[in-house]
Point group: C2
Chain length 433, copies 2
Amino acid sequence: MRMVDIIHKKREGIELSEQEIQYFIEGYTEGSIPDYQVSALLMAVYYKGMSETETAILTKAMVESGETIDLSPIKGHKVDKHSTGGVGDKTTFIVGPLVASVGVPVAKMSGRGLGHTGGTLDKLESIPGFSIEITKEKFIKQVNEKKLAVAGQTGNLAPADKKLYALRDVTATVDSIPLIAGSIMSKKLASGADSIVLDVKTGTGAFMKTIEDSESLAREMVNIGNNLGRQTIAVISDMNQPLGYEVGNANEVREAVEVLQGKNISDLRNLALELAAHMTILAEVFDSYEEAISTLEKNLDNGKAFEVFKTFVEAQGGDVSVIEDLSKLPTSPYYFEIKAESEGYVSAIDAEAIGVAAMYLGAGRATKEDVINHGVGISLKKKIGDPVSIGETLVVLNSETEVPQDSINKVKEAYEITNKPVEKKTLIYKVIK
Amino acid sequence: MRMVDIIHKKREGIELSEQEIQYFIEGYTEGSIPDYQVSALLMAVYYKGMSETETAILTKAMVESGETIDLSPIKGHKVDKHSTGGVGDKTTFIVGPLVASVGVPVAKMSGRGLGHTGGTLDKLESIPGFSIEITKEKFIKQVNEKKLAVAGQTGNLAPADKKLYALRDVTATVDSIPLIAGSIMSKKLASGADSIVLDVKTGTGAFMKTIEDSESLAREMVNIGNNLGRQTIAVISDMNQPLGYEVGNANEVREAVEVLQGKNISDLRNLALELAAHMTILAEVFDSYEEAISTLEKNLDNGKAFEVFKTFVEAQGGDVSVIEDLSKLPTSPYYFEIKAESEGYVSAIDAEAIGVAAMYLGAGRATKEDVINHGVGISLKKKIGDPVSIGETLVVLNSETEVPQDSINKVKEAYEITNKPVEKKTLIYKVIK
């Protein structure tokens, strides 16, 4: 088998065989196939796509290129949740305890990575004392006993994907739906869950800007999961504005806890319920969506999910008093209020710009070396559809130093106000099974 | 400027600017842009093509990546001829002296390379004593005095093209018409001629199998030449069977000399006249095609071209008595005759298969290290359209050892005989100016 023939075949739009895909992934991982052949193949894939079968084989090969996590010592049906990434997305902190509250084990492994705000791990670390460095044994024991644990991802998961992603990034081959789908799913599948619920974001603040692209990506991922023996469901949810009102690390933990305490932040609460419902149905706890939603709503309102969250925080060394009194969460000394300069209705909030503004404050990492500041963040006071009058506060920025001008400008640019009433955004566009 | 943005732009089918193309060729030549980004760009070019302007800029940048040959010390209008490569193509040995016979200086620089038979240099070296290693001074003096010289190509011509070609070869991006055109033309333009006549072969034995593809390639090359200030004409000629009857090194010199001596091997003679006519018109020796052809035919028939050839051979140290008595050219001891096994008409001769058979005999190089045997070769006795009866000789193979079976098989496979009369092949399909 020769790599040049594989490239030629894909270039002509002919489906690659299992042997060919395995040959290429194995050779690339071990270094016998050079970058320059792989990048040519990736560009051909960009134009010619990959069939459902090819994408599943590619994903499987990427999973098999490294270690996989064995969750079998954990009793019960393990369901994982993955979001394609949005601004202000703190659903994990609500979904985790909610699903655990009906007995479904949640064994969450997370990374840090780059982004507008920190990852799940960074956000949790805004709770004083909280540790994500727990042994494998303790992790499994905690999930079995408390139903919820979050740990830093260890092990060499899907190294082929890491190598491919780095190459795609510098060869303009990132935005190929089968390649994106394979990349996400290879990491999820290597993490060992039995079933997967995907939250595919769509809109200006998401990687996929249109519903059509988001749906294509969702279908590809669902197909991969199902083809490789893991039941997978995707929810396509709105990212035309940040989720909820808070962006930052402590800011997002605070808002999530408020929802766990019963506050109705409708988009955040409803998305968490929707994702939790699908997870518990996949775990076979409920037979119907209606039954799932009504029980989960009850567990949110009666504080059961909040109790699970507190137990979880305590088990991982976090200071529970902070969760009970959110004013103890880190904040920063400087505030800046952005006020409306015209009257009307908020018609758009560029989520990506809000994310960048938060990063400028120090909430996220532009490079791996950056240190996150847990106490800085952005609080939106108005969302799409809200009426505003001149001088009313749109956003509050909270910073460690005098609030930087570039951050203020970004937020200002993000807001659009029109003189006619604006409809609220749909939250859930579609569920793909 | 970032290479990833250039790849992205081409991927989207947007025309690249002069700055972008220069940046990429310069960076690739000096090594600051890696292979893996270039191969992704090449694959995008494969799908999206390049405009006439882009192709001309690319070619210019490749020319400027290395040395160029200065032919200005040679008096008169220098016209070069280039063939895209075919089996049995020995027109250079006729065209050169023919054009020189009317006073047009022919300063030919040739390479060796791989192929079914040797290159121009290897073929000339079948004349005992002939040397292609002459100094630049002697080369120029010889062209000025004798109007014809052939030397081995020296100097670092179009190194960007060499690097790109090697990369295309292993990334399935060879067969892109703008890239092929740019590659050929960069070397021709670096060689310094004022005008260029291209012989674009078409058919089973050519790189371009269809008239349409050959015409596209021809047009691209003519556009490049004209855009970069060198008048360029392309003749699209048949390569659905070998040109003439002889394939090999001494074999081809022998057949070319026979034409110079007045023998009418019609396809070879007519193609040589056609190419020479365009060259002399570009050199402004003749005003009309008819005038050119009639003078050139005369110089072929009256032996003037043959005299130029002999003078040229002598000037480069070759034994002229061999040219006067062709039986002195090298041959080999073993012969094998392939005879017709059915009666009818020759309907096809796979030129590529004949070429491969010649290489098996030792006439060409499969790898750079192979040593050429000047005395082996293949003589066709029948060509397309010829009637044959059972037992009649189709081909004679001449070999240094017992004629190898793989070579015999290849030739047998190459011939097709049908029971109905077959039309002769058209020789010249089109002239592109």
